[in-house]
């Protein structure tokens, strides 16, 4: 038992880390010719986009479900079980991001691209684990 105050502090720290992740790059791939594809929570940016780049944008708003889970985490400070719902849902959502990350890295390596993980993803992972630990602790305190 770590006490409710510590558990709530962990949730709050998780929310802050997650919020920070929303404004930082998650991962990127640099290709020859100074072309760089940067994936963020609110869309994908193509730096120095070549003229023959495919039409349309593969630019999902990954931040949307994360914003919902962060809101649930925040609500969990006052509303019982909301924090656990938010933390578990965020863990599931990050699982999908992990699957995409492995796939994108494979594509990048195959196309001679230089793949890099951004601080946003590091903050997201840390925020998710911190919030999850806090949410579980709050549940145990309540039990």
């Amino acid at each position: 038992m770590i006490g409710r105050a510590t558990a709530v502090a962990l949730i709050a720290a998780g929310v802050v880390l997650t919020a920070t992740a929303m404004v930082l790059p998650w991962y990127s791939t640099a290709y020859p010719g100074d072309v760089e594809v940067v994936v963020r929570a609110w869309g994908t940016e193509v730096v120095n986009k070549p003229g023959d780049w495919p039409a349309g944008d593969l630019s999902p708003w990954y931040g949307l479900p994360i914003a919902v889970t962060a809101a649930l985490l925040t609500a969990g400070i006052w509303v019982g079980r909301a924090a656990l719902a938010g933390a578990a849902a965020q863990l599931g959502a990050v699982g999908v991001i992990a699957a995409l990350l492995v796939s994108e890295r494979g594509h990048a390596v195959e196309q001679q691209g230089d793949f890099a993980i951004g601080f946003g993803l590091v903050f997201l992972a840390l925020g998710t684990l911190t919030a999850f630990a806090g949410a579980v602790a709050v549940q145990r305190e309540a039990a």
Binding site: P54, A55, G56, D57, L58, S59, P60, W61, Y62, L64, P65, V68, T69, R81, L84, A85, G86, A87, A88, A89, Q90, L91, G92, A93, V94, G95, V96, I97, A98, A99, L100, V102, S103, E104, R105, G106, H107, E110, Q139, A142, A143
Partner: protein, 145 residues
Amino acid sequence: MKIVSAVLLAAAAAAAVTATFLPLSELLIRLAPDQPQTAYVTTGWATHFGGTKDRHGPLFGVPVAAAAIALLAGIRWRRTAFAAAAALAGVTGMLFVYLLNAIGFHEEGNIAIDPGLEAGFGTGTWVLMAATVLAFGAVVVHPDD
């Protein structure tokens, strides 16, 4: 209600795993007017364009399977059921956001090649959503608190 909840959790886990083998999204396109349609299909375990498999296709089945295992654990350890249902909801939500954009991207990028192309969610996405509803249903009929 305990048995009903267990059955619902087992059904949700089974539906979630089944969904990973079904198409999550599909694009049907004619690459030339006189050719048959070629299917671009994403499942939880592979992405195919016609007979070609993307060697680095995203394995969405992994987080779905993990959530399904957590649901099954919820039958034995009641307190994990709610978290498992929420985790499945998180997987489904993020997958929906990704696929929604990917489908739009495929439409926009290929409409000039085949104006009659068909792109949309596959049955796997709807089965996954149904699994999420079943999982929360299990928690509602037999809450652990």
